[in-house]
Symmetry: C2
Subunit: 141 residues, 2 copies
DNA sequence: TCTTGACTTAGAGTTAACTCTAAAATTTAT
DNA sequence: ATAAATTTTAGAGTTAACTCTAAGTCAAGA
């Protein structure tokens, strides 16, 4: 019914150090302690860790995640703040995805360019290549 | 024909401090200096900054970017390393985008959940809601 | 010319997010 | 019962990427 910090580390891929650090930062206020002081993680705590991972991996700083957890702990009076936070974060993530996709085009161009350059053994000649030039126009129009 | 560090800062949104820091880290080896020691950026340097921004914004550490610049400076003998680098980075960026899109689904679910919770004034009731529960199943199947 | 603002360097300081250490206590395996 | 592994705390150390300071030099406008 409960997991040790080591078990949770294995499950999540985080280290035990990082889990304790998260707790210290107020990100895991629901983790229980056994009589002798060992942390006992519940499935609910694993759910919180998954949420933390989701927000962290999409670029939210730990402070922002803590704010959410604090709002959660404050109860239903903060429902609208939490909704706002998720809406704002969604917009940021969508913006991020767009930027990634745009940058991916530039990286793709570089790959085409360097494939040609490797073929010719010469970067300058590859840059001169009409097909490469046409691609360049498309991306940096 | 040339831009001062302040002009480049305005153009790129970076600070002059950051531009000098990048230079110190070996990311801008082509920037010239005037007779009296002032940096003079060329359009080519702005192109390098755009490339740096592209790689940085897609998660490449400055050390990785420096490696690319060092390879570039070494000439055509390193063409294949540069091609490899871009291919590897492309794969990472694609992986990132996938993860972002997946996390976006989770965030979307939270938005739906909190919209319902705000409507009801109660999170627990929103969690009980059949439509919400169905959505949850879809995402955390 | 004077002054104001931009630029120079070297180097110190900051922030976020870990990452590690040490010494002691607890738990698990034999 | 004992050895080995895991966990505890407090606190120090690390890394990346800035960010700022100080003291001096340079440049443009009145």
């Amino acid at each position: 019914m409960g997991y040790s910090i080591g078990e949770v580390a294995k499950k999540t891929g985080l280290t035990t150090h990082t889990l304790r650090y998260y707790e210290k930062e107020g990100l895991l206020p629901f983790v229980r302690k056994s009589g002798s002081g060992l942390r006992v993680f519940s499935d609910n705590d694993l759910g919180w860790l998954a949420m933390i991972e989701c927000l962290k991996d999409t670029g939210m700083p730990l402070k922002g995640i803590k704010q959410y957890i604090d709002w959660f702990s404050a109860g239903d009076a903060t429902l609208s703040q939490r909704l706002e936070m998720f809406k704002n974060h969604k917009a940021k993530v969508q913006e991020q995805i767009k930027q990634y996709q745009n940058n991916l085009k530039k990286i793709d161009f570089k790959i085409k360019l360097y494939e040609k350059a490797v073929e010719l053994g010469n970067l300058d000649q590859a840059i001169q290549d009409p097909a490469i030039e046409e691609l360049r126009q498309k991306i940096y129009k």
